[in-house]
Amino acid sequence: MDISKKKLEWIYTTMYRIRRFEETMLEQTLKGNSMGVAHTSDGQEAPPTGICAHLTDKDWIGSTHRGHGHCISKGLETDKMMAEVFGKATGQCGGKGGSMHISDFSKGMLGANGIVGASIPLAVGAALTAKLKGIENESVGVSFFGDGASSQGVLHESMNLASVWKLPVIFACENNGYAEATPSWYAVSAEDIASRAEGYGMPGVVVDGMDVFAVYDAAGEAIARARAGEGPTLIEMKTYRYHGHFHADDTSKYRKPEEEEYYKKLDSIKHFERTVTKQKLMTEKKLKSIRDAIEQEMLDAVEFALNSPMPDVSTVYDDVYVNYSNPIAGLR
């Protein structure tokens, strides 16, 4: 295997961190500690991990309503993420954004986005910036989106744009088979979303999204092309979300237990563990020490979030503009 030991450790840490963040966040949300709506991405750890393993803080990613995994893969800190979900002043956006809008511009994370499809052209724009500045080799744009989002016109416009301008973009489709309760076989007219690429003159690849090594390889190739100035690629990763569409969604109303069990057998974290121990790349002891550290990190994140203060209500009026102090603090 052509992955360094350090990278393997990063991959495992990242996947396990996503898994445990989502489980912990969901538990806390159901306890009433979150302020609102939260979408979990456990089960889908491989796509963001395998892709972001190739990125630095200078590369940009666009994200979705299901954005926690993207954030973690891009290096955001779980305590500030948890605090944001809890609506606290110490949160990543000071409590203004919540689960659906976590962002960190210092880490190349353009923000989770609540409008399906809306972040796709942002990654194209980041790639445009790179091209204009002549830094394509060190700053690509990755757009994460779902199977549902692939039906939005803005994806198709963005793909065409990226292709005609030969921009360094990765269109990273996380096909988890469903958009809310709607199965992709119902809503998507093509067998593979990757086949859309052909019409826009770019490579399209289908990858097993439960296999982080497969994602890592496909992403490595696409990102190398992008950095070399050869333009965009569409990668479709077939994956699965373990929990409901949002925290209170009951999947048993629209997914069969056999199907859920099938994907749990393909679990990306277990697959990673089996692979690295069999090939003697990492020891079970090492894996356990990573898991233990993450467990502690989650306890700390929850404690940090719980103990953090609420934002001052005066912050409602801040940051509407850069250089204009809002005189209309509600007409009251």
């Binding site: 609102g36 609506g87 659906m100 609540g114 809310e180 934002p311 603090a329 009251r332």
Partner: protein, 356 residues
């Protein structure tokens, strides 16, 4: 229409007729069902309005039954041709609904959260609202759209808008905002039967509220407001959920001896100028309450009409109680600060009447 006028169906007092206490969401669905039974040309489109299909049989599962279960059960009654789940393609299916309306159907579109209307805005503005006019009256667009608005549920900036003023700004489009189970029944039926495109906006905070609904079939004329409460000292003007806020404020004002009149506008375009003028002529003071942001808002528009047409009746400046000029924040305390509260209305009235 068989409403008994004697019971003043546009305001309190209609409890005199036969009916029952119902949830907003339930009467909304019942009205959709009644309109679909009434007219075979009415059909429904939207994301997850039934929600989910069996992989083997391809039968609809009705797992979601629409956002907030608004359309639950309808697919079993009307089938997948008339209860059409859509891909996530708002521009496409709103445009298709306009095209279908232009050619003889009466589509009803569920846009889920009100914020998503902007994805389809071009179809609404350039096609739905303008076709009749720019084609010289040759055609009509009997299209109904609905969506859920409002802050207060922790949905953050992109799922909490109340910018109905943006729609009311468009000539050719009608905009209605029910505020209780009674008004949603009459307004939804009127919207579906109307030959112009009508957008019905339901504040999320109303969806689980209950209220009295007459059994009989009725419509509420588009463009009409109603009195929710009669009073003599000040007029409180509400729309959508702020009509509830106004009634709560009026209760609090009554405790300190201020007798407030409450108007529920119900329609934002066209809207009822007469009721505003009539009420202000009596109370001589007015506070307009709007959860939309204040610039170029309905509150501003109502204020302009009052200043223009009821100026001589005013004893005090026209006041607006609105959200701040900002997006909707996530954290609960911030969200509460953002939304107009009864206390804000009470405070404004006390200041206005010199009762601090």
């Amino acid at each position: 229409m068989t409403t008994s006028q004697a019971n003043n169906p546009l305001g309190p007092g209609y409890e005199g007729v036969a009916g029952s206490e119902m949830r907003f969401r339930d009467i909304f669905r019942d009205t959709l069902r009644a309109e679909m039974n009434r007219d075979d040309d009415v059909f429904l489109m939207g994301e997850d309005i039934s929600g989910g299909f069996d992989k083997d049989t391809k039968e609809p599962l009705d797992a979601w039954g629409g956002p907030f279960a608004a359309t639950k059960g309808l697919v079993q009654e009307f089938g997948v041709e008339r209860i059409r789940d859509t891909p996530i393609s708002e521009a496409g299916f709103v445009g298709a609904a306009v095209g279908s309306a232009l050619t003889g159907m009466r589509p009803v579109v569920d846009l889920m959260y009100f914020d998503f209307v902007t994805v389809a805005f071009d179809q609404l503005l350039s096609n739905a609202a303008k076709s009749r006019y720019m084609f010289g009256g040759q055609t009509k667009v009997p299209l109904t759209l609905f969506a859920r608005s409002g802050a207060g549920t922790g949905h953050a900036a992109q799922h909490s808008e109340s910018f109905y003023s943006m729609l009311a700004h468009i000539p050719g489009l009608k905009v209605v905002v029910p505020s209780d189970p009674y008004s949603v029944k009459g307004l939804l039926a009127a919207a579906i039967r109307d030959d112009d495109p009508v957008f019905l906006v339901n504040d999320k905070k109303l969806i689980n509220l209950t209220g009295f609904v007459p059994d009989e079939e009725y419509i509420i004329e588009l463009g009409k407001g109603r009195y929710m409460r009669r009073g003599t000292d000040v007029t409180l003007v509400g729309m959508s959920y702020t009509s509830v806020v106004c009634q709560q404020a009026a209760d609090q004002l009554a405790e300190i001896g201020i007798d407030a009149e409450v108007i529920d506008m119900m329609s934002l375009s066209p809207f009822d100028e007469d009721i505003l003028i009539e009420s202000v002529a009596k109370t001589n003071n007015v506070v307009i309450v709007d959860e939309d942001t204040p610039r170029a808002s309905m509150a501003s528009e109502f204020a302009a009409v009052i200043a223009d047409k009821a100026f001589d009746h005013l004893d005090s400046p026209v006041k607006r109680v609105t959200s701040p000029h900002s997006p909707v924040p996530y954290s609960r305390d911030l969200e509460i600060e953002f939304m107009p509260q009864p206390a804000d209305v009470v405070g404004t009235v006390k200041k206005l009447l010199g009762r601090e």
